[in-house]
């Protein structure tokens, strides 16, 4: 079972502010998820190299040539707030 401090630490990393009731609820839920995933560790994987990709072993690279991207208008279309062609964000973000 995760400790309350661990839940609070994860919340800080995710920049989430949780109520006391939420902390307790997420503690139970996150613990259940971790315990479920921990079942994988029962498998004997010694001798099996870590597999991060199942694709053929080759590099796919791109030539260094400029192509047009998005316009400022398109980029900022979904921004909750913007100013002078830039995203505007809240000034305080907790842990920095």
């Amino acid at each position: 079972m995760l400790t309350l401090q661990e839940v609070e630490h994860i919340a800080i990393l995710a920049r989430l502010e949780l109520s006391a009731e939420e902390k307790e609820r997420f503690r139970r839920q996150l613990s259940a998820i971790l315990e479920y995933a921990a079942r994988l560790q029962e498998l004997d994987t010694s001798g099996i190299p870590p597999t991060s990709s199942v694709l053929p072993p080759r590099s796919v690279l791109r030539p260094d040539a400029v192509e047009p991207g998005l316009s400022v208008e398109e980029l900022l279309k979904n921004a909750p707030r913007s100013e002078n062609g830039q995203f505007r964000v809240p000034p305080v973000l907790g842990l920095e």
Binding site: R58, S59, D64, V66
Partner: protein, 477 residues
């Protein structure tokens, strides 16, 4: 009182000078562009996009790795470094963690006392830059232009022993980056950024004490100043019986002070894992050889060769290898001249360097080619023109791009060594200056220089000043 030594390691971030970003085809250099004008779905972190690495960025990384004597890895991986910050649109930075592009490596840093400090690096990896957060009139604004610009991170071992050495390492690194053509390495434009880890210990000790990390030192002078101040502070603390705590400090350039920062995430908090959207980087031998065939002789090797092969003083060799095109200019001029290399060095360091500084050109852009420079020195050596005419000729060749011998012929610059021509001008000068002649004769013999000057002036510098002096002394004696 204990004698202390500083133990310093530098973490550098180098912006590669590729045309495009690391994982998308947006223009990489946004220095003079409006905010958010070089962005696309990939670098602004829109869902469903796929990054593709820039071949040129990998190749520049390989060149730098080879120049740092690091071992290029045949297989390396990209990883996600997770943290939330508004200028990081994806919520993670694509970096390399445990399988970097290159491992090991070092730089042989020459120190002013003639010794060499071997500065090691642990690894060299590629990552993407984040965007910029700006505070404007109380507003917090985000510009994504810099998101995805390719960076190389290189961390030195705790091998530097003073603030000056830290500054020298950065100076040599900047020289190397420009030499290789992998980065513009302009610290003002943050192409080369630096964090410094600093601790102290009794001189000669082999253990390491807790260190502080100084962030945001972004010029060579700032590194020298910030590291110097931190060493002094740590000595004061230890002398006062206090313990050094592993703080993170921020250098305030304007105030010239270090400030304690709130602690950031620890390594585990970044929850690194393999980037699932990218394949590993595989560098086969053939590709590596092709890239490394472009690796030039390195600046410090060339500096040492100039000292050994041409018998140049260290000072000359340092300046002439400060820039790759200047060093190539020098060698070409020496080959064409085929006389004493030091003589070429003198002309270069006195006159050509001034010309470069004043014009802002690089040596390879001069109309005064190294062949023309060699030709001018030969004309002076042969006595065809005198030294002053030679110096003026440098400017004329630079302005016109025409061969020195042609200019000498067309403008009648050849030195007059015909005694009778000089003699008549000498007589003219003496006749025009009765007062000076009188003081000379009453013992003020130093006036001879003034008479020679008058003759040279009348002859537009073409006379042989030694012959003029002899004739004048004869006429006055």
């Amino acid at each position: 009182m204990t004698d202390y030594e500083a133990v310093i390691g530098l973490e550098t971030h180098i912006q590669l000078n590729t045309k495009t970003k690391i994982f998308c085809s947006c223009k990489a250099d946004s220095w003079s562009d409006a905010p958010n004008t070089n962005i696309c779905p990939v670098c602004s972190g829109l869902p469903g996009v796929l990054p593709v690495p820039n071949k040129a960025a990998i190749e520049k990384g390989m060149l730098l790795a080879a120049a740092m004597h690091a071992e290029i890895q045949p297989l390396s991986y990209f990883d996600r470094k997770n943290y939330f910050y508004p200028d990081l649109p994806k919520g993670y930075q694509i970096s390399q963690y445990d399988m970097p592009l290159a491992r090991g490596g070092y730089m042989q840093l020459p120190l002013p006392d003639g010794s060499v400090r071997q500065v090691s690096i642990h690894k060299l990896h590629i990552e993407e830059d984040a965007g910029k957060t700006k505070n404007e009139n109380g507003l917090r604004l985000i510009d994504f232009n810099r998101c995805g610009v390719p960076l190389i991170e290189m961390v030195t071992g705790p091998d530097l022993r003073s603030a000056d050495e830290a500054a020298q390492y950065l100076t040599r690194l900047r020289q190397l980056l420009r030499w290789l053509g992998v980065s513009e390495a302009d610290m003002e434009k943050a192409h080369l950024r630096c964090d410094a880890n600093v601790s102290i210990r009794p001189k000669g000790a082999a253990y390491l004490n807790p260190k502080t990390e100084i962030k945001n030192v972004n010029s060579i002078e700032a590194v020298r100043e910030a590291v110097g101040k931190e060493i002094e502070r740590q000595i004061r603390e230890v002398e006062a019986g206090h313990k050094i705590e592993a703080w993170t400090l921020e250098w305030d350039e304007d105030a010239g002070v270090l400030r304690k920062m709130r602690s950031k995430e620890t390594e585990a908090d970044y929850r690194y894992f393999r980037e699932p959207d990218l394949l590993p980087v595989r560098i086969h031998e053939e590709w590596k050889q092709k890239v490394l065939s472009k690796l030039p002789e390195l600046p410090l090797e060339r500096r040492n060769r100039f000292i050994n092969q041409y018998g140049l003083p260290e000072y000359d060799a340092d300046i002439l290898t400060g820039d790759r095109s200047l060093s190539e200019y020098f060698e070409t001029a020496v080959k064409t001249y085929s006389g004493d290399p030091k003589r070429v060095s003198n002309w270069l360091m006195n006159d050509v360097l001034r010309m470069l500084n004043e014009s802002g050109l690089t040596a390879d852009q001069l109309k005064l080619t190294p062949q023309f420079l060699a030709e001018i020195i030969k004309l002076v050596d042969a006595g065809t023109i005198n030294n002053n005419t030679g110096k003026n000729l440098l400017e004329k060749v630079q302005q016109t791009g025409r061969p020195p011998a042609k200019l000498v012929e067309e403008e009648g610059l050849a030195r007059v060594s015909d005694d009778s021509a000089i003699r008549s001008v000498c007589q003219e000068v003496l006749a025009e200056s009765p007062k000076e002649v009188e003081s000379y004769k009453s013992g003020k013999v130093t006036l001879i220089g003034w008479f020679v000057g008058q003759v040279m002036k009348k002859m537009r510098g073409k006379a042989d000043p030694n012959i003029a002096r002899k004739i004048l002394e004869e006429l006055l004696g």
